[in-house]
């Protein structure tokens, strides 16, 4: 790192030296930073696969071979989902800020925390090996019986997913325990920052849902290796059963991905509007409501799979309910800005991008929850556009808001504001160009996972591919200035944004033990504003 003990205060980065001190660290901040570097690396790798997918689709006719293309989109999906978007916010930013925001010295089980990181690296290596040994071509969903019959390295990839799952389970367990047991005096649940409510809800889903993907991938491997018939009709299995198992995990997993992003947005919008959050309790409990509902809606991925009409009826009905807690959050973030003092620094620009893009992502979910419309749109580019608006427009924008917001605290250096704004603008424009066109492609019937397409889809595909170059440029600039700022960035003060949560009361970067003496909390996390009235809504 860029620090030595005599150019700045003693902090978690320069407290110990050498690679070994990082590999054996029990400090939640160091583990968080290691997660951040690993997951951001995979974000770059997954992003390169995405650019290759878009390159193939620039015009009709082959650029890569169909098998190569099929591996590209599979690896893009698998890497982004399992190695980037699921772990990054909880494991990197959550690890770093959860203990600090509740006034604790570390998480409840520091050794388990380090173990989780090693499990994460092991699982990731398995997935990387599967790429080296020929790649996977099943799509990140591993649908049977194709995944049982394809000659590609499904076993390595699914084992990777299996192992990665344990990392998530242990991290979730650690966070739930930490929040219950290690809050500083006066830090009641209702004084916790909303980021932590989101991380808490996420951790519950991680603990309860992730074992199911573990079981599912284990069954898949058993079927491939031992020919036990679970999912392949040739062996007496049922391929649709796999989809139930898979989505029973993977739908809640969608909320593992989005809830932490929502948590960050609550922090950033309040800090850059200098306003108390509008409806603290509604935002906090809607995270738990979303987590709860997430377990009973998986069948909406299967409206045309041949599942029974009764199941379709119930899953469509239940899915509609997700709209309510989600819309309340969106409404409350907007309302928080009312009469605020709004500053458009990079973190806020990303949070506003989130609000803009996630609103589109959420609303297009309504089309897909309505069964008859979903029959038309299912497995088309409309779906691809919808979940990218939620996952990238939502989670990734939230992540980048948080990363810029907390960067000064994590590394004691400011990122360059002008470059930050430029990168955000490029990404925002590029994102809409890439994915808004895909809603149209889907409405016009273009199926997803297509190596080639009919000529009438050409203009929209060209626009979409050009958009991906804008995103690529925006992200490249960001990677460069983040790395640059680690060494050359302006020194950050304790509280560059005027935030009210506990991490802004300690040094940047924090010392190894976070607080010099245990903090005592007497107020909520968003005490902005002057014309105080008593009580909370």
């Amino acid at each position: 790192m860029a620090y030595d003990s005599n150019d700045h205060h003693k902090n978690y980065i320069n407290a110990e030296k050498g690679i070994w001190s990082w590999m054996t660290t029990l400090d939640h901040k160091r583990i968080g930073v290691m997660y951040l570097f690993a997951t951001m690396f995979f974000f770059a790798v997954g992003g390169i696969f995405a650019m290759l997918v878009r390159l193939e689709l620039f015009k009709p006719g082959p650029f890569f071979s169909p098998d190569t293309y099929n591996k590209f989109f599979t690896l893009h999906g698998a890497i982004m989902v399992f190695m980037f978007i699921i772990p990054i916010i909880p494991a990197a930013l959550g690890n770093f800020f959860l203990p600090i925001q509740i006034g604790a010295k570390d998480v409840a089980f520091p050794r388990l925390n380090l173990l989780s990181w090693y499990i994460f690296v092991t699982g990731s290596l398995l997935l990387v090996f599967s790429i080296v040994s020929g790649g996977v071509d099943t799509g990140w969903t591993f649908y049977t019986p194709y995944s049982i019959r394809t000659a590609t390295s499904v076993i390595l990839a699914t084992l990777g997913v299996f192992v990665l799952g344990f990392s998530g389970i242990l991290t979730g367990l650690n966070f739930v325990t930490t929040i219950h047991k290690l809050r500083a005096p006066g830090m009641t649940f209702h004084r916790m920052p909303l980021f932590l409510w989101a991380i808490y809800a996420t951790a519950i889903i991680q603990v309860l849902a992730t074992p199911v993907i573990g079981i599912t991938t284990a069954l898949l491997v058993m079927e491939r290796v031992l020919h036990i018939g679970f999912f392949d009709p040739k062996l007496g299995g049922d391929p649709v059963l796999f989809q139930h198992f898979f989505w029973f995990y993977s739908h809640p997993a969608v909320y593992i991905m989005i809830l932490p992003g929502m948590g960050i947005v609550s922090e950033v919008i309040t800090a850059f509007s200098k306003k108390h959050i509008f409806g603290y309790h509604a935002v906090a409990y809607s995270s738990l409501a979303i987590a709860g509902i997430s377990f009973i809606v998986w069948g909406h991925h299967m409206f045309v799979s041949s599942q029974s009409p009764l199941a379709n009826f119930l899953f469509s009905l239940l899915t509609m309910l997700v709209a309510i807690p989600t819309a309340i959050k969106v409404f409350n973030w907007t309302a928080t800005m009312y009469k605020g003092s709004i500053s458009l620094k990079t973190p806020m620009l990303y949070a506003l991008s989130f609000l803009f893009l996630f609103t589109i992502g959420g609303l297009t979910g309504l089309f897909l929850a309505a069964i008859s419309v979903d029959v038309h749109l299912h497995d088309t580019y409309f779906i691809v556009a919808h979940f990218h608006y939620v996952m990238m427009g939502g989670t990734v924008m939230g992540l980048l808001a948080g990363l810029h917001y907390w960067w000064p605290k994590m590394f004691g250096r400011m990122y360059p504001e002008k470059w930050g704004k430029l990168s955000c603008a490029l990404t925002f424009i590029g994102f809409n160009l890439t994915f808004f066109t895909q809603f149209w492609l889907g409405k016009m019937g273009m199926p997803r996972r297509y190596h080639d397409y009919l000529p009438e889809y050409t203009p929209l595909n060209i626009a979409s591919t050009v958009g991906s170059w804008f995103i690529g440029a925006g992200m490249l600039i960001m990677f460069i200035y983040f790395i640059w700022s680690l060494f050359k960035g302006k020194r950050a003060s304790e509280n560059p944004w005027g935030g009210k949560t506990l991490e802004w009361t300690i040094e940047s970067p924090p010392t190894t033990h976070n607080f010099h003496k245990e903090p005592v909390i007497t107020t909520g996390p968003y005490e902005y504003g002057e014309l105080k009235t008593t009580g909370e809504a």
Binding site: D67, N70, D137, S305, S306, I328, F367, V375, L454, P459
Partner: protein
Amino acid sequence: MVDFFKIFQLPQASTMAPKVDALYDFIHWVSVVSFVIIVGGMVYFIWKFRRRREGEPTPYITGHTPTELSVAGVLFIIVMVIFYWGWKDYSKIIQSSPNALEINVMARQWLWEFEYTNGRKIVNELVVPKGTPVRLIMGSADVLHSFYVPNFRLKQDVVPGAYTKLDFTATSVGEQQVFCAEYCGTAHSKMLAKLKVMEPKDYQRWQTTWEVEQSLGIQPAGAAETTAGQAPETVVENPVERGKKLFAEKGCTACHSVSGQVLVGPSLKEVFGHEVELADGSKVMADENYIRESLMEPQLKLVKGFPPVMPTYKGTLKDDEINALVTYIKSLRN
């Protein structure tokens, strides 16, 4: 320019298409209004409440419960309307007409085979009469596929080891694109077919000409030389006849009569399409999937009053043989 905008309009070619589009448009406008409220509000606030100087005072507002409850309430009503509308139309999609024209579909990596009840089999080309309810009975020879006709707004996954069905009524004459919508491997994006909709009298002529040619032993024109772009047309046995032959060859006749006489097992006369009472007292509809399941797992849903002695045909019968048997048993319904 006109041509450019054509890419934004998908033709409506089935009875369901206008219905799906109507709900699509409704959700579209609900979304536009919601988007304008949220993002319009956001943009207005950004401009109106932009920071003019550091440290300017802001009011202390923590929320307003009645506003939140009304937002939730209004939203609940809207999503329930969307839900009910979607469900109502979906019930029409899955409703099948009792006298629908039935066509067997076999999906393989990476082609579509269509088989008519008269034995005519065509690859990657499906011909149906306009205005007539059609029912596709679909099976897969290998992995998952999905039969998708964008201009019909209809899609149904095709699942190996079971039958899935898709009902539709075409409303305009012409050629429609069929896609495979469920990823199925290397040539997934090339698994395309054409769906030709004809006037009923033209369809009738198309079938009769072929039947006459068959009975006279005439090779259909162009069958010898397969020209590029022309769907290859194969001539095979009538599936009912084939099923009848298999029914005898595979030993079914030993236990099952087709005359109504009860042997070791129940007679198969007039079984198809009727409810069957099972040993445990429950009832099951004898449809394609039940017949298939009874061949694969005979003891699973045993008919009341019969011993569990039938052997499984799993591994013995090929998919196309099962299809032929099902078609034959179906032909015994009247």
